[in-house]
């Protein structure tokens, strides 16, 4: 260990929630109800997550997201977003979840930083240092846990701390009056509006959500091709129609919602293309569980179909996008039929003029922080790819790293709310704020609701899945697989042929640079795994994800510069 004369700026909190989406918000509400101090970190400027990407605060939007499917999550958002007793840290990126340093704990307050002006050498830190047991990751709980001495009436953000916030000049909360807990369970590297700092937390709730699973096909890197969710975000958050004539292609029902929103906003929709054959979709929709419990969603879907038909928008089943073409920007897209076995029939194609293409083939979990932290993961293709394992309290294999929302399976926003609540109870239990019996009682309703929602989610995942081999069929050898490093599928295949010992995505990355660029493999990882799996005759889950390393998102070097 090299001791540095200059320590990083350190803030502390009791519970750090990563992600201000439905699950993070639901957890925050429950944690506050039981007196836990809460800090929420999110990359966006406002709460809501991707599903409720809000317009800028400076806007006023009449009748924002009127569709019923948003009702549940909107209630959760309104319940907490104005709360002043939560330490909100927006426009902030968590770069890593690290083990606290045994060399830093006592000097946490003694940083030479103009953001921190107080010394936090308080009782409770020393025993942990002496025992050298800060490292609680995966090895039991020794060494963290001053929860017992924490003053539950003195929650974060409003406590009379003299420690000026390192991130946005606000109070840091839970240090105050309660004694800085020795080292905390985790140390987050955070890059916020005021630079880089550490946030030490007794418990972390990881609720990072998901992003669109990209399909690679000739032309998918052409300007104008984007995720359908990206298009939707322009409409609902920016109140902006990001093009003129849209073609939406994929397998997820979200396409219908976005097509409807685009039409309402006055855009043209060239077509909505589903990989599923029509019969397949209807069979699932008529599943008794779906019909009974989710009649509202079904009703809404049928309204959307009617509106699309009225607007003359073709909804085409059993087809997939196979290429996007244009000189500098998309000018047209080609779709091709898929037969009953899921094979693309390139003799049956249709071409649509359009200046934007949205692709929508389900979602991938934002699993990088869980992986970086060393949490055990497992692969479940149509539930979001890499999911984090957890116990009944949604605690990951890493002690005091809890999980909520899509990271345990892309089950949708309503399920995310319940997961947030269960994880919050798990955290309260772990912090000693509720006992086991209370915890089980508190979580009972949420568990019950979650199991219903998950059975619906399982059906939806089944309904929304493209044919398993679709990605391998749409990519040619000449298709760019890794956008950032400009690596084509053929180049990866050649490397695999030349280097028989390469069995994992990570080994392929090391040799070929695939996944080494700015997006850090988020956009290519899934397709890379499929290519390797095919070459080696295994399931993509056996190929593994790319290794995630801090910083999990690129950071300007300036953030690391020592302050003079």
């Amino acid at each position: 260990m090299v001791a540095n004369e200059q320590q990083a700026a350190v803030a502390t909190c009791e519970v750090a929630i990563i992600g201000a989406g439905p699950s993070g918000l639901a957890a925050a509400a429950l944690l506050r109800e039981h007196g836990a101090a809460v800090t929420i970190i999110d990359e966006q400027a406002r709460a809501g997550g991707q599903i409720l990407r809000q317009p800028p605060k400076s806007y006023s939007v009449a009748n924002w997201l009127p569709a019923k499917l948003y009702d549940g999550v909107k209630v959760a958002l309104r319940a907490v977003e104005e709360r002043q007793d939560i330490d909100w840290r927006f426009q902030s990126t968590v770069l890593g979840i690290m083990r606290p340093s045994p060399y830093r704990a006592l000097r946490a307050g003694a940083v030479r930083s103009n953001h921190i002006d107080n010394n936090t050498n308080v009782a409770g830190t020393e025993p942990d240092l002496a025992s050298g047991s800060q490292d609680t990751r995966g090895e039991g709980s020794a060494g963290y846990g001053s929860a017992g001495v924490r003053d539950s009436r003195n929650p974060g953000g409003i406590a009379g701390s003299e420690l000026a916030g390192v991130s946005d000049g606000r109070n840091l909360g839970s240090i105050a009056g309660s004694g800085l807990c020795g080292g905390g369970a985790h140390e987050l590297w955070i890059h916020g509006p005021n630079g880089l700092y550490l946030l030490r937390a007794n418990a972390v709730l990881l609720a990072p959500g998901c992003y669109e699973r990209p399909l690679a096909f000739p032309g998918w890197t052409l300007p104008g091709v984007m995720g359908t969710g990206a298009i939707q975000t322009f409409v609902k958050s920016q109140q902006f129609v990001p093009g003129n004539r849209f073609l939406l292609a994929g397998s997820h029902p979200l396409q219908l919602v976005v097509a409807d929103q685009l039409l309402s906003a006055g855009a043209q929709v060239a077509a909505v293309v589903f990989t599923q054959r029509k019969q397949q979709a209807w069979l699932l929709m008529r599943h008794p569980l779906v019909a009974l419990r989710h009649h509202r969603q079904l009703l809404e879907t049928s309204h959307i179909f009617r509106r699309l038909r009225r607007a003359g928008v073709p909804v085409i089943f059993g087809h997939t996008i196979v290429s996007a073409d244009g000189a500098a920007v998309v000018e047209r897209a080609t779709i091709a039929a898929i037969d009953a076995k899921g094979t693309i029939d390139r003799h049956k194609t249709k071409v649509f003029d359009c200046d934007r293409v949205g692709i929508c083939h389900g979602f991938l979990t934002s699993s990088e922080l869980a992986r970086q932290a060393g949490a055990e993961m497992h692969w479940k293709d149509h539930a979001g790819g890499w999911l984090a394992r957890h116990n009944e309290w949604l605690e990951s294999s890493v002690k005091n790293l809890f999980l909520a929302g899509e990271i345990t399976g892309v089950d949708g926003a309503d399920a995310a709310l319940e997961k947030g609540r269960i994880a919050a109870v798990g955290i309260l239990r772990s912090l000693g704020r509720v006992d086991d019996r209370q915890a089980h009682n508190l979580a009972a309703t949420a568990r019950n609701r979650l199991s219903h929602q998950q059975s619906f989610a399982a059906i939806l995942q089944e309904l929304a899945r493209p044919p398993a081999s679709l990605a391998l069929q749409t990519m040619s050898d000449d298709t760019i697989l890794c956008r950032c490093e400009s690596i084509k599928r053929g180049e990866l295949c050649q490397a695999l042929a030349d280097n028989k010992h390469i069995l994992s995505a990570d080994a392929a990355k090391l040799l070929t640079r695939v996944g080494m660029g700015l997006c850090q493999g988020r956009l290519c990882g899934d397709n890379v795994a499929r290519v390797i799996a095919e070459a080696r005759g295994v399931q993509p889950g056996k190929v593994g994800p790319f290794q995630a390393q801090a910083p999990v998102k690129p950071v300007p070097l300036a953030a690391f510069m020592r302050r003079p």
Binding site: Q44, S58, Q91, P242, P556
Partner: protein, 95 residues
Amino acid sequence: MSRRITLGVVRPAAVNIFVNGKAVEAYEGESVLTALMAGGVLVMSRDSFGRMRAPFCNMGVCFDCMVEVEDGSSRVRACLTPVRAGLRVIVPDHN
């Protein structure tokens, strides 16, 4: 073309950002990406292979909307960066 929705939306007073030195109208709080696209810019950068990079995810994941801001000394994700009056942005292939 790309355009802002106005029906039922009240925005703050317009401000200018400068794209390759030229004034483009935008609104405080709006993302730089939206302002650029509303101003007719879709290509945010050219990468080291000379390929055009245009927005893909609009949520901070793909890094395809990285643009040079101010004097070119820093690059930011346009989708995560709010507009402020006078912001200078440099994009390729745009006059």
